[in-house]
Subunit: 378 residues, 4 copies
C-alpha cells in the first residue's frame, strides 16, 4: 500500500539527503568502520547541506521542519546502510533537549553551532553499572556554590568520541528518590577532568562511535545545568515517545533496505539453473518478509503521523520500537540466509545489516523495558 505521509517539502528534502548519503557517506563508510567513527568534517558537510537540526526553528540555526523531515533523513540513511552516522541522535534527541528545556542563552550558544556541525552533540545516561534502571546512576554533580563538581563515568555513549558537548545525567540530590535527585548538565569536551575512552569495539555499527566518558572532578559552570536541579528525570521522560519512534523508523528503514537488496539478489542469483527467487520456499519467504515489512511501514508511518499531530502515546511508541526492531531482526536474519555464504561476508550489505541492526532491540530502553511500559498502559 502506498504511503500518504509526504508533501513536496519532504520530497525535496529526501532528494538532498539522498544525494548527501550517496556522495559523502557511502563511499567512505568502510573507512569509517575501520577507524571506528566518521570523519569529523562529515558533520560540517552535513551542516552545510542542511541535514542537521532540521526540526529546530530557523532562529536557532535550524530549518524549522517537522518530524517527518527527520524521518526522511533517517530513511535515506537507512537506504544506504549508513550505520556509522549519528545525525539523528544529535539533531532529534540532543538538540531538542536544549531547545525544549534550555535557557535562551543555552539555545543561542549551542543550537546554531550544532546546526552547522561545529559542535557534535551526545547524551550520556547509561553507566557501567546501570542501563535499564536510570534511577540507579552513580554519576554525581555536587553544588560547590560557584560551580558544579562532576564525578562518575558513562558508557555506550553514541557520538561520544567526537562529541563537543554532551548532556550528562547526574545525581544532584540526596532524597533517595532517583527521579527527584537527577539533573541534566551540558558538559563541553575539553574541560579538565573530562576524558574519553577509545571507541568501543562492537559486533556491528562499527563506524558509529560509541564511547566511555570519564568525569573526574570536572568543574562545570553554574549555568551548565539544563532546567532546574532535580528535574532531569522528568525531562528524560518527556521526549521518550519520540526517541523510541526514531529507533522504529531506523529499524524499519533497515528492514526495507535489506529486503530490497535480498529481493534483488534472489532474482539474480542462480542455483540449479534457476534464480533463487524461483524456488517456492524462497518465494514464500520473500512474500512473508514483504508482508512483515509492509506491516511495519504502515504502523511506523501511522505513529509518525500521530506524533506530528501530538497524539502518539508512550505505549504506542514503545510498541513500534519493540515490534519493528524485532521484525527488523527477523527479516534481516532471513535475508542473510537467502544470500547463502555471501550473507556471512562483510562486504555484502545484508551481512552488515545483520550485525548493525541487532542493536535496535537493545538501546533506547531494551524491548523488555518497552513491554513493561506497554503493560503499564493496559
Amino acid at each position: 500500500i502506498g504511503r500518504t505521509l509526504f508533501n513536496e517539502t519532504h520530497e525535496a528534502f529526501r532528494e538532498t539527503a539522498r544525494r548527501f548519503f550517496e556522495r559523502e557517506v557511502a563511499p567512505n563508510h568502510s573507512r569509517y568502520e575501520e577507524q571506528g567513527h566518521v570523519d569529523r568534517d562529515l558533520w560540517n558537510k552535513a551542516g552545510e547541506a542542511g541535514l542537521l537540526l532540521t526540526a529546530i526553528p530557523e532562529e536557532y540555526g535550524g530549518l524549522g521542519g517537522d518530524r517527518i523531515v527527520s524521518a526522511v533523513i533517517m530513511e535515506e540513511q537507512a537506504r544506504v546502510g549508513a550505520s556509522a552516522v549519528g545525525f539523528s541522535l544529535h539533531s532529534d534527541i540532543v538538540a531538542p533537549y536544549i531547545f525544549n528545556f534550555g535557557t535562551e542563552e543555552q539555545k543561542q550558544n549551542y543550537l546554531p553551532r550544532m546546526a552547522s556541525g561545529e559542535l557534535v552533540g551526545a547524551i550520556a545516561m547509561t553507566e557501567p553499572g546501570t542501563g535499564s534502571d536510570l534511577q540507579g546512576i552513580k554519576t554525581r554533580a555536587e553544588d560547590k556554590g560557584d560551580h558544579w563538581l562532576l564525578n562518575g563515568s558513562k558508557i555506550f555513549i553514541t557520538n561520544g568520541y567526537l562529541c563537543d558537548i554532551v548532556i550528562v545525567a547526574a545525581k544532584t540530590g540526596n532524597s533517595g528518590q532517583g527521579s527527584a535527585d537527577t539533573s541534566l548538565f551540558i558538559v563541553e569536551a575539553g574541560l579538565d577532568g573530562f576524558t574519553k575512552g577509545t571507541p568501543l569495539k562492537k559486533i556491528g555499527m562499527k563506524g558509529q562511535d560509541t564511547c566511555e566518558l570519564f568525569f573526574s572532578d570536572v568543574k562545570l559552570p553554574k549555568d551548565a545545568i539544563l532546567g532546574a536541579p532535580g528535574t532531569g528525570f522528568g525531562m528524560l521522560m518527556k521526549e521518550l515517545a519520540w526517541e523510541r519512534l526514531l529507533i522504529a523508523i531506523l529499524a524499519q528503514g533497515a528492514a526495507e533496505f535489506a529486503f530490497e537488496h535480498t529481493l534483488d539478489y534472489a532474482k539474480n542469483r542462480q542455483a540449479f539453473g534457476r534464480p533463487i527467487a524461483s524456488f517456492q520456499v524462497q518465494r514464500h519467504k520473500l512474500a512473508q518478509l514483504a508482508s512483515e515489512v509492509s506491516l511495519g511501514r504502515v504502523y511506523t508511518d501511522e505513529c509518525l503521523r500521530a506524533e506530528v499531530e501530538g497524539r502518539l502515546s508512550p505505549a504506542g511508541a514503545a510498541s513500534a520500537k519493540c515490534w519493528v526492531s524485532e521484525m527488523c531482526s527477523r527479516v534481516i536474519d532471513q535475508c542473510v540466509q537467502i544470500h547463502g555464504g555471501y550473507g556471512f561476508m562483510w562486504e555484502y550489505p545484508v551481512a552488515r545489516a545483520f550485525v548493525d541492526n541487532r542493536v535496535h532491540q537493545i538501546y533506547g530502553g531494551t524491548n523488555d523495558i518497552m513491554r513493561e511500559l506497554i503493560a503499564r498502559s493496559l
Copy 2:
C-alpha cells in the same frame, strides 16, 4: 493509537449493529451451535434492522453505505464472538456479484429480497476434489439450448444449508483453459435435482452452516447465468482483494475480542494471592499481544481506507489476510493459555475463539495461496 476511519454515519451504524448482535444473536448463539446453523428468521430480523446489503444502493433495497459500514458490522459481530452469523458473505460477497455483474432483471429480482432477508445467499466454488485450484472444478453446466443442465457437487459452502440462492461456479467450455471455461450461475434452492447435505461438523464456527451441495441434472433457466459464458473466472478474480480484506477484518475483530476478554480475565483471576496479570511473564505476554493486535488494527484500517479509495492492491489484501489471520491465531492461542484450564472449556469465549478463528488461515484462499499471490507481485 486511535482510529481515524469513522464518521458519524458509521458510528450510528455501529450502535444499531451492536444492539442487534447483543439482543438478537448473543443470547441464542449456543443454540445455533447446537443446531449447526442460525435460526432462519434471524435473517429477516437482520433485514428489518437494516444490517444486510448495506453497501448496495438503495434502489435495490440496500442502504447505499460504503465498505466501512460493512466493516463496522463485522466488528460488532466479532465483539460478541458471533461466529455463527454469515451476513458478511451474503451482503458483501454474494450481493456484489449480482450487483456488479448481473442483469438489471437479476438485480431487481434478487437484491431487494436479499436485503430484506427473504433470500439467503451463498457462493459455491470449492469441490471435494479441488479448493485452492479453482480452475480444476468438475461441476459442469451444459448448454441445452433452452436451459443449462447442471451436474456436480460443492463442499464447505457457507450459508449452504439455509441458502435460497447460491452462485455456483461451473465449467461451461471445453477449451481446456480453466479460466476461460468457467461461468457463474445463480441457482435457486428448490430446483429439482439440487439437494443439500446436513451442516458439516466442524471444530469451530459450529453455529455457521457449512454444507455440501449436490447438483444432479438440475435444469437452470437460460438467464440463470451471471455475465457472459466463460467470464466466471474473471468475475471471481475481480473482487478478491475485498473478499480477503473481509477475512482480515473478521480475524482482527476476533483477536481484539479475545485479547480484551483475556486482559480482563488476567486482571481478575487470582493465583498465589495475586492477579494473574501481575506476574511479569503474563504482563509481558499481554504487552506483546497488545502490540500485535495494534499493528493488525492499524494495517487493517489502512487497507480499508485504501479499499474505499480504490487503491488496495491484491497483494496488499493478501498480506492483510495472511498476516492478520496468523496473528489472530497466535494471539488467541496465548489467550487460551492465559486462561489456564478455563481456556479449554467451551463456555469461555476465548475457548470458542480458539476453534472458530483457526479457519481464517484456510478459507478465502489458504495462506499459502496468499503467499503465492504476494510473491507474484514482488
Copy 3:
C-alpha cells in the same frame, strides 16, 4: 533415528494394546465424544485385557511391568487418537499414590479392583478458585474424632464423572502454611454429600469425562486418609516428574499420529494436478515437522530411560512436558493447515488432534509453572 527402548515384553504389550484400541475404542470413539465420556464397561474390558495398572505388582492385581509398558499403552492410545480414554491417569497416577503411600489395607482394598476395572480412579486437586497454586485450595476436611468431615468442591477432574474412588486434596491443618496443612483422602463415590456435575463441555477431548465434584458435609471414615495428616503436599510432589513425563509421552504420540496422517494426506491429496506433498513449501514444512517430531521422540525416550533408571530430574521432566507439548501444538497446527478445509472438519483426525492436544500445555501444571520449576533448577 531408530528407537532402542523396547524389549520383547514391551513389544508383546504393544500388540495387545494396539488390538484393544483398534477394536474396542476406535469404533466407539465418536459416540464417546457425543456422550462426553467412555462407556463404563470399557474399563472392565481394559481390565480384562490387562491394560490397567500394568506397573503395579502382581500381588495387588497389577502386572508388575515397568514404566515403559505404561508408555507403550499411551503410544498405542495416541496412535488412534483416542483422547477419550483416561487409563493413564487411573493406572499411572492414581494407583501409584495408593501403592506408594497407602496402608496395606488400602492397597488390598482398592488396587485389585482398580486393576480389573471394577473401580475407576480419579484425583482431585484443582478447585474453581485455584489450579496452579495448589497450596491455595479451600476444600477442607475437619477431624471429627471418629470421622473426617469433607467440604468443598473440585473442578476439571478427569474420570470424574465415572469415578468410583477419587483422591482428594484437602486442608486439614491451620498452620497457614499450605504445604503443611494439606492431606490426601481416598473418597468413594456414593458417599452421602458427594455429588458430581455433568461432564464439562470442552473444545476437545470431548469423550474424556472432566467433571466438577462437590463435597457437602461428606463423612469420611478415619482410614480414608492417605498417609499421615499434613503430608499430602509432599506426596503430590514426589511423583510429579513421572506425571509430567506422562503428558510429554501423550503429546509426543499425538504429534506423531498427526504427522503421519498428514504426510499420508499430503502425498495423496492433489491440487493443480500434483500431490500437495510435491510443492516445495509443503515438502519443507513436512521436513521441518519431521525434525521436530524426531527431536521430541529422542528426548522423550531418553527421559523415559532416565525415569526407569531413577535419574530423571523434576526439571528434566518439566522440560519434556513443556517443550513436547508446545511442539505438539505447533506441529498439529501445521498439520491442520496442510489439510486445507478438511483440517477444520471434525471427522478428520488432525482436526480433532488440534483441539484435543491443546490441553497438554495447560494441565499437569501449566507450562509457565514448568518454566518456574526449570528456572529454579538453574
Copy 4:
C-alpha cells in the same frame, strides 16, 4: 539429563583438549581475529598435543580414536568460543577423504604429516557461481596424458589461506551429468598457477581463514586424483551424514557455551537492585533456553551414538544440522538480549558467539538443502 556417551579414554582426551584450548588458543584468539587466521604454528602444536587426526589409525600417524573423540575436541573448542580453529575440518573431513578413498601412497604421503600439523588440509567445492548445486561447478581438470591441467576458482574455503594441501572438486568428464563428471584432486600449495586470495572479511569467525583459491593452468601429477575419475560426487556424498553431524556438534557446543555465560551473567548483573535473573521474564527465558539446549544435547548425543554404531541416516544427520543450528541461533540471540548493551560489544563472548555461529545454518549445505534431503526421505 546426564550424558552417557563417554568412557575414560574420552574423558582423558577431554582433559588434554581443554588444556590446549585454554592455554594455546584462548589467549591468542583476539590476535587471530585481527589477522584473519590462526598462527601457522598452532597447527604444529596441536599435532604435538595429539589433537589432529584422532580418528585416523595409528599406522598413518593418527590416534585410532572413534568419532566421539572428535566430538570431545569440538566440544572443548566450543567451550572457549574458539571459532578461529579449523582442526575439525582438517581432521574429520579432509583426512577421512584421503584415508577412505586414497591410494596407499597418498595415505602414507599425506596423513602422517597432517597428523603432525606439518600439512594443513582444506577442501574446495564451492565456487563463486555455485554452492548449493555442487553439480554446477565450473572448475575443470583436463587429462593431458601425463598430467591434469586444472583451471577454475573456489570460494569460501576454510583453512584456505594456510592450507598446504586442498582437495579440489573439478569436472573431468563431459557427460553433462554433473554427478558422473566430477572428480576430486589433492592439490598441493606451491604449485605453479595456484594462488590464494587474502582471507575474506566476514561478520564472524573472524579468526578462521576463509579464502578464495585460484587455479590457472595448474599442472597436477597424474596421481593427484583421489579415487577414479568421475567418482568424486559419490565420494562427496558418502561422508555427508558425518560432516553434518559435525556442524550440529559445533553448534550445540556453542549454544551451551553461550547459555552458560548468560546464566552466569544474569545471576550477577544487577538492575533495579536485583539480579537480572530474578526477573520472571528472564527466569522463564532462561528456562526456555535451558530446555532447548537440553533437547539439542540429547539429540546430538543420540545421533553421535548412532553414527558410531553405523546407523545414522543422512536424514537424521540433516535434521540435527538443521534443527541444532537454528536452535543455536535462537538461543544465542536471546543470550545477546539478556546481556543488554554488553551483548553488542565485541569483547563479550556472547556477542562473538552471535556472529560466529550464524554460519552453521549456511555452510555444509544450507538448511534449505537439509530440508530437501529430509523431505526426500519421508
